[in-house]
Amino acid sequence: MRKKLVFIIDDDPVIIMTAGAVLEAAGFNTASALNESEAINLINRFVPDCVLCDMMMESIDTGVTIIRALNHKHPHVPIFLMSSISDATEHNFKLDELDLAGFLKKPVDPETMIAAVQRSIEKNNH
């Protein structure tokens, strides 16, 4: 059976390396992007089974911009927003307007991340 593809979007290559290694150890394939344009381009070509997207990248609300674009183009793909909760609440990013599978508060517990990804993919397949 094909391994499920999880796409990680984060401007920190060390987070991508370590979170990717966690997900691969849990049996997923991973792909990644360091910025908005790279993320949108790659996801349009290789539609993943799940997306983990950081909030703050080029701008403090880049994650919201990316998720809005992905919600529009790939409405079936579950997306998790990763952030320190303070970023979102302090700047009132209207997260309730996004179609999110969930919110993962940093530092993300690896077991929680794996379980959340597995659940969202399973739910999506039913």
């Binding site: 920190d12 987070i15 390396m17 966690v22 080029e58 403090i60 940093k106």
Partner: protein, 168 residues
């Protein structure tokens, strides 16, 4: 030499010289919530944050400064082989299986796992201090810096389980 990472940061203009100065202290530096706040304030004074068009290199440097402090605090008191091992796996997680295997071979499974557990206990104590930082960008940098240690811990734990299964 000062035991304040904030002072050390102000005295060192490059990341490499900051890292070297912190390493020379062998973990004997202050790193409680107040000191974290001072370090964050010193960092943002030198590299002010922006809402749009943030300087990615400066943001990543913030995470790296935190990682240097967390790592050196976590490995303080251990011999050079443990320090070298942790410093290398933080740079490249693909080395974890090899290092865990080597560590188990040298020390035995129980002692090697005890070292890992003690290091994670120290990292959890650092997280306790980070959790007490006020909401804001200083806390964001500390959380971003800390996050990788939990991912690395997970993979190290998986490697230990594999070692244990190999020896059963």
């Amino acid at each position: 030499m000062s035991k304040s990472p904030a002072h050390i940061f102000n005295e060192n203009s490059s990341l490499d010289s900051f890292k070297e100065a912190i390493r020379l202290l062998n973990g004997d530096f202050f790193f409680d919530t107040d000191e974290m706040l001072l370090l964050g304030e010193a960092y943002f004074k030198r590299y002010p944050d922006a809402f749009h068009h943030r300087d990615r290199n400066e943001v990543l440097m913030g995470y790296e400064i935190v990682r240097i402090c967390v790592l050196e605090k976590a490995v303080s008191g251990y011999d050079q082989s443990v320090k070298d091992c942790l410093r290398s796996i933080v740079k490249d997680v693909s080395l974890i299986n090899r290092h865990v295997s080597s560590c188990v071979k040298d020390r035995g499974y129980e002692q090697a796992y005890a070292v890992y557990s003690e290091i994670m206990q120290k990292i959890n104590e650092i997280k306790y201090c980070i959790d007490r930082l006020p909401l804001g960008m200083v806390k964001e940098r500390f959380i971003g810096g800390l996050a990788i240690f939990y991912n690395i811990s997970y993979i190290v734990n998986v490697a230990f389980k594999a070692q244990k299964n190999n020896h059963l």
